[in-house]
């Protein structure tokens, strides 16, 4: 295993007083992490701190094993890129010019693009499906396209970590889905860490590899979305007054990819199924590449994984997915 891309070490954040303290969080390349929590829980503060827009009260942040606070602004910009919510009016600025701005930490004083920069811009435009709109003014794009253009700009900046602050907020349902899908694919293809602050719990359950959930007691619960639902931490965090988080809608998807046999019953089975689909497998009732059995005893859930000859006991959906991933890679 290589070292994690993004590490916080005993990080305490806040403006005047500590909002969250002693954070030791890690994220690996190729992981799409959603940062969730109630309003005022410190999502934006954490994101701003990680982006070094705000100094931490204590602790350090490492990206690619380098401590951010020992780097110059330009070096930091080569590691971390940003996507924000604020509505920008950009005049005559064209999409390709906006994306090319992402190359600023790599270019000279005039921002003149070299071949490598042009390639990065083109790659970012292709990845976000904007190549046909490259010469259009950003102003003329729809909100969904504009958000993609801002993501393309952050992609072109080409750091190891991309931080996104509620990028879905102005989008309609279809565009939200599309942007989430784009972000997940981009995370894999570009092998980056994507950390996105959002309130879109349903989409996170569907797309995120991991959640960082800021709970009501001021700690950060980390895990794959299904596990956090099954442990009840999502409910503990978001239930408020008469509102109860209740995800009763059964996933309509069947998934695609390697077939995995799955057996068991109830809530645990449904969330395990969703976890497998999210991780790129196709859960089936008949024998497949491997078999997952879910059993629930006195509110404690066990997963038993049969990989060929071997049998493995797991304590979470996350561990099932990790073990499956290793087995299939071989």
């Amino acid at each position: 295993m290589t070292a994690a891309k993004l590490i916080t070490d005993n990080l305490t954040i806040g403006y005047d007083h500590a909002l969250l303290s002693g954070l030791g969080l890690t994220a690996n390349s190729g992981e799409f992490v959603c940062l969730m929590g109630p309003n005022g829980s410190g999502k934006s503060t954490l994101l701003r701190t990680l982006a070094t827009l705000l100094p931490p009260l204590q602790g350090s942040i490492l990206v690619d094993s380098q401590s951010l606070f020992q780097l110059s602004a330009r070096e930091k910009a080569q590691l971390i890129s940003l996507v924000l919510t604020e509505h920008l009016d950009l005049g005559y600025l064209r999409v390709n010019e906006l994306v090319a701005m992402g190359r600023y930490p790599h270019t000279g004083w005039r921002g003149q693009l070299q071949n490598a920069d042009r390639e990065a811009v083109e790659q970012a435009l292709n990845a976000t499906g904007l190549q046909d709109l490259a010469m259009r003014p950003v102003q003329e794009l729809s909100d969904g396209q504009r958000q993609k253009a801002l993501i393309a700009r952050a992609l072109a900046q080409d750091g190891s970590v991309m931080l996104l602050d509620e990028p879905l907020i102005h989008l309609d349902v279809g565009n939200k889905w599309e942007v989430m899908n784009l972000l997940r694919i981009t995370t894999r293809n570009f092998n980056k860490v994507l950390l996105m602050a959002t309130h879109e719990i349903d989409l996170c359950l569907q797309f995120a590899d991991k959640l960082w959930l800021i709970t009501r007691d001021g700690s950060v619960a980390v895990g794959c979305p299904e596990d956090l639902v099954l442990t009840g931490q999502i409910n503990d965090t978001f239930d408020q007054g008469d509102y109860k988080f209740h995800h009763h809608q059964e996933s309509q998807e069947n998934g695609s990819g390697p077939q995995i046999q799955i057996s068991g019953s109830g809530r645990a089975l449904e969330w395990t199924r969703r976890g497998l689909i999210r991780a790129g497998y196709q859960p089936v009732q008949k024998p497949g590449l491997a078999k997952v059995m879910v059993t629930e005893e006195q509110h404690i859930i066990h997963w038993t994984l049969e990989l060929g000859e071997n049998s493995l006991a797991c304590s979470s959906v996350e561990k099932v997915i990790v073990a499956l991933g290793r087995y299939i890679d071989k």
Binding site: A51, A77, I80, L88, D89, G91, W109
Partner: protein
Amino acid sequence: MKNSKILWMALIPLLTLLMLVNVGLGSVVIPWTEVIDIILGNSSSNPGWNTIIREFRLPKTLTAVLAGSGLAISGLLMQTLFRNPLAGPFVLGISSGASLGVALLIMATQILGVTWMAHAWGSGATVLAAVAGSGFILLVILTASFYIGDSMTLLIIGLMLGSLSGALVSVLQYFSQAEQIQSYLIWTFGSLGGVHGAELWWLAAIVVLGSFLSWLMVKPLNSLLLGETYARSMGVSLRTTRLLIIISTALLAGGITAFCGPLAFIGIAIPHLARILFKTSDHRKLVPASLLLGAIIMVLCDTIAQVPGTPQTLPINAITSLVGAPAVIAILIRNRQLGKSFAK
């Protein structure tokens, strides 16, 4: 791309032509062949014409070019820094500071009973007073920018300093004689004709230095289009950028105001004209485009202000607004996209 090249090819000869016309026209009629001869360095048969062109008209034309370019660039810098289409060279209170300096020179000295000073020192004293006034405001703004992280707060402080200077000038006017008030008012009308010899070199040095500084900043200026947070995330040092923007604006706006008085309108309008004509938000194009358009419009306005063929000269400030405002309104109505260039 192609359109902007054609524009450059058209605008540069246009400026040359306008400068020639500006030198050629005036209250004294001089034949065109003689005008061109004198500009090319030959002496005319009429020594009076030599003096008129070399000592008066050429310096005035060059002053118009320098003042127009410099004000347009400083307007562009302010509009980008504050992301506000209404910002101009003087939002930081720099011209108000200069006005206060000049008002103190003209009126306060009289109130204190030392009327001789202004006369004895002549225009040099006015320049010094204006430099001292705008320099003082600049110091206050720079100190504030060091402690305040937020550009909007800085903008408001600039506006407040402007009001403060304006109020002080009003108090001075209240206690002054009609004569002094008139000489102060004439200074506020602006004048391109008072810059000669060494002064012209000073003005040229200031404008070249200020423009050069803004040319060095095209990349951070572009990144500021996305707002300060994005700019920082792209590795731009906001503090350095803001400091350089303020210094070059102060040089340009303060220097030009010192020599020519508070010239209105050009600084706010020209950057918009540049964006609309060149259809770009890229400062690598906007800086030279503002430079060129500022010079063109200023020379044009000055030509009109001379009311060719008559001995009259109208205040340049009135002309820039009389000619410029309707032109900008017309362009805006045709394009309807001024607001697009900015975040709210």
